[in-house]
Symmetry: D2
Subunit: 160 residues, 4 copies
């Protein structure tokens, strides 16, 4: 059981006229969590120890790999009010395939809120694509090893 | 077989550094399609004939009903380049339940592009909530009748 | 006195928790108005007569020209409620320089709202940049002629 | 000379097809900087010492005060590439009026980038409005005192 906990800040523009995070903002929050968790640091960046625990796949422009989103699923359990503090987005690999993988997420209230609230469950299927050939490419052994500590059972949705 | 065809314009800000519509913009496009298809017109608006074929549920602020998003699923089949012309978002009701309903979508290239391209399949589960009691409420007979012409088989995803 | 009237649709996500268009959405609305007014049509697009009156500068990716934003100014006169109908964004050239130009805007209520409401005044300074050399380039005679019908006094702001 | 330095993280969706932060994203970044600098913390939040140096005006929904944006001005000096690290947004009060104030900004490269790059200069005019009466209200003595340490000469724009 190993999950990455990524603090993701809301923006005021994520809030809609009902005073809650609009459902359509959620994919942006998940995207930010993936980038902070999995992307390699900026070229001139010295991450603080433990800051980005698992930059396992370098999918940035220019890296030679595109991480293409093939599908997403979201389940909204409760509406999210505005917090100035970052949400606690928990994510892990629910499945590692040959050239694809599934990221599981649970989007929770900011660290320190008691009791914690689970707002959203989600899953993203990513396909690794060679930027030059534009064809799927297999995960390398190094990538697979880097992912290994963060593999767990995929998130379970309430609805079929 | 009856689908609503809603023209939804991209914004330049939907395009990411890869030159395509970012996956996270898709929920906003689906939201716009739902609003144009299903919301009642502005109070002082006289829609042109056929412009908004099915304003079946009045879920606007102040209407007494909240249409709460319970879940979404998306499948991305091809990346979407920038078009100045609106995309052709096709949507219909894949399921009518007691207090909830599923909207199915196929997001296609602008009308006139040949051959047409199917970019994205999606489905949204909506729950009707009474704004005063904050509890789910059943679809009225009038709402059910208004939806009737636009019911069809739910969209079929390629992946399980 | 010649202004372009560009219908620009709001998105629900432009509305913030106060129930109005968030000020930070305005630059996106102005951007959409500029694109619809001034960009050349999609490659395979046959605009309807009068639809896009003045595609004067081809600043799209791949066109060889970048239209770089050098500065913007905005004055918010009244808060904008949600409309399903497009806003009437009026724009014109307030100044044509050698390699730069100023676009003036008045953002108004949707066509048909009486009396019309002026919500926002704005101005954008654009610099034409050669995409290959990344240096400013002068407006061509053809561009200057295409702009000519839409030149007028620059928008006047209330505050200094 | 006292400026607040607010770290503001980019989102991937701020980047456009040119690979830079789109100009229209800037107002959102400035908004985030203002919120982090000036808003009171979440109700149940214990800010870390020095984290939010100057929550001087409580303009959150429900606080009784609206901070209405009356005008904005932006000058873009250089295009902003994607950084995973937060930008260093520097802001201060360039003017305190009776019921209004001007915030000055300089948007700079992330802390640690050498030499630092100044990307954008901006200024926002805010009016304090009583939420009940919807009329401007004067800054209180307490607010004025809280602002005092962060007053400096207003940002100077290159263009008139």
């Amino acid at each position: 059981m190993a999950r990455l906990h990524v603090p993701v800040r809301l923006r005021w523009s994520d809030i809609d006229a009902y005073g809650h995070v609009n459902n359509s903002a959620m994919l942006r929050l998940l995207e930010e969590a993936r980038i902070l968790a999995f992307w390699a640091p900026d070229a001139d960046e010295t991450p603080e120890p433990g800051e980005y625990p698992a930059p396992v796949i370098d999918g940035r422009p220019g890296s030679g790999t595109l991480t293409v989103i093939a599908g997403q699923r979201l389940e909204y359990l409760a509406s999210i009010p505005y917090f100035r503090r970052p949400l606690d987005v928990q994510l892990w690999f629910g499945r590692l395939g040959g050239a694809s993988l599934d990221v599981s997420y649970e989007v929770c209230s900011p660290a320190g809120v008691t009791p914690p609230v689970l707002y959203t469950r989600a899953s993203t299927t990513l396909v690794l694509v060679d930027a030059a050939t534009e064809r799927p490419r297999r995960l390398s052994d190094a990538e697979r090893a880097a992912c290994e500590p963060w593999i767990d059972e995929p998130v379970v949705f309430s609805r079929p």
